[in-house]
Symmetry: C2
Subunit: 284 residues, 2 copies
């Protein structure tokens, strides 16, 4: 577990600093430890921008929790400095609408946009009210019977630095692809927590919806699956402990697919739902 | 059917005019015929803004089709003039990322923001590639055995002017709520087409995902269900004919619910998928 006097890897990864004298602009350093393939993981970027919006929007009405975030991915983010420009579009009584963009300097120093975000923030502790859910948590074997991502091929681990920061235990029923026998069902599910014991919170959920291997692996399609758009709804503040995450797709067509994610916390509550539209990898 | 020389009600409802001498700004007139409750229907607003983006983004690379749109609803739109400010965020080879905002003057003439949008545009005709879908179209009784919205209570029809422009035929299995016996399942489905025969296209799909009664009716929760956020993915260009639309929800909790919509065209293809996060109506 994280010592009390130690900042977790995730919190360092999403740290932002208000730029002195420039309202609503935050600086960040994108850490290579969150790489996947050639870029920084899209979920980590969402949590990073979500953290800047938390500071910008949360200062009024206690609206520091993301309820909904929609991100449009524009270009691949690289390790190095980043700048987040935020805007409080409208501060309401229950919700605040925000907007943000993440930029990085290119080799000539020109600022290039990486992703653009719209969001609704509020106070999850004020979101009381009944729970009438027909959704059911995924049935997973016990953690110790699931497959660790440490068993992934070494060259994949090199490309996916972020896996070393996670404890990811995949349902054996959904990892046939690692043995050359994808199920074809379009489903990957497993247990997830941070390797250093950092407990889940709403910002960590923004990351968790895009942390598993792409569901296309289960369709036998390997390779890079760039996200065009990802929207996540945070439905409750998670309790400490393991998360259960399910990725699924139902419609691969015309070179695109939707990937749905659900995140359940240790109390058995559905804490986040997301959908992304992604580009189907080309056959090798 | 619409005469060849006649512009359909829908096309008049989403018409925009580039403002002379002001790049990227479009003017519109919001028609009271698309009212629902106190405001203009959210799907119609999406199609209106989508039409402005079509003109702004479609001028380059034939990127005139919405693939994904995410809208954050800020305040209720009223009949009267509207202004749409658009931005081509990045023009790529396959996709163009766009942003837009819809504003209306308040009583003092100050411009008030109604909704803000991010979008990915491209060319649906270029989106070839295999279709591997495990999603199946809804099983609906024949159109003539479904329930017309003309049977809705007259005071509801008055509040829902837009229903008069639609032919909406709901599955009798999902309209128990109209007889005081909601199924509690969280599902409403039916056939949809425009009353004047205007055939579906990608812009009409942006409207279709938010045209049915709210799925909360099927949970016995009546009243206004304001949308915080709605994202729609247009997955194929629809063929002419009736659309089949399914609305469902799985997780009503903490005063919010997600509402998923699927739209299937007459050829049996899944042409649009959407999800919105909406506020649960308070018990009367």
């Amino acid at each position: 577990m994280t010592a009390a006097d130690q900042v977790s890897e995730f919190d360092r990864g999403i740290a932002v600093t208000a730029r002195p004298g420039v309202p609503s602009v935050y600086d960040a350093a994108l850490d290579p430890g969150w790489r996947i393939g050639g870029g920084i993981n899209g979920g980590l970027l969402l949590a990073l921008v979500g953290n800047a919006l938390r500071q910008e929007l949360g200062a009024v009405n206690d609206h520091g929790d993301p309820f909904s975030m929609s991100a449009y991915y524009i270009s691949a983010a690289r390790p190095g400095p980043g700048e987040i420009r935020t805007e409080a579009v409208r501060r309401g009584r229950t919700f605040t609408t925000g907007a943000a963009t993440l930029l990085q300097p290119d080799e000539q120093g020109a600022m290039v946009e990486r992703l653009r975000v719209l969001a609704s923030y509020g106070d999850l502790d004020a979101a009381k009210g009944e729970v009438r859910t027909s959704a059911t948590p995924p049935e997973l074997p016990p953690v110790e019977e699931c497959i660790s991502s440490e068993l992934a091929p070494p060259d994949f681990l090199t490309e996916a630095a972020l896996l070393q920061r996670l404890e990811l235990r995949l349902d054996p029923a959904c990892v046939g692809w690692a043995l050359g026998k994808p199920s074809g069902e379009g489903r990957i599910q497993g247990w997830l927590r941070m390797a250093d014991g950092r407990e889940p919170d709403p910002l960590m959920l923004l990351f968790a919806v895009d942390a598993l291997p792409p569901v296309t692996f289960d369709l036998g399609l390997f390779g890079w699956t760039p996200t065009l758009e990802l929207t996540v709804h945070v439905r409750a503040r998670p309790v400490p402990g393991w998360l259960r995450v399910v990725h699924s797709t139902r419609n691969l067509a015309g070179g695109l697919l939707e990937e749905d994610a659900e995140v359940w916390d240790a109390s058995g509550r559905l804490v986040a739902q997301s959908r992304q539209l992604a580009v189907v990898p080309r056959p090798a």
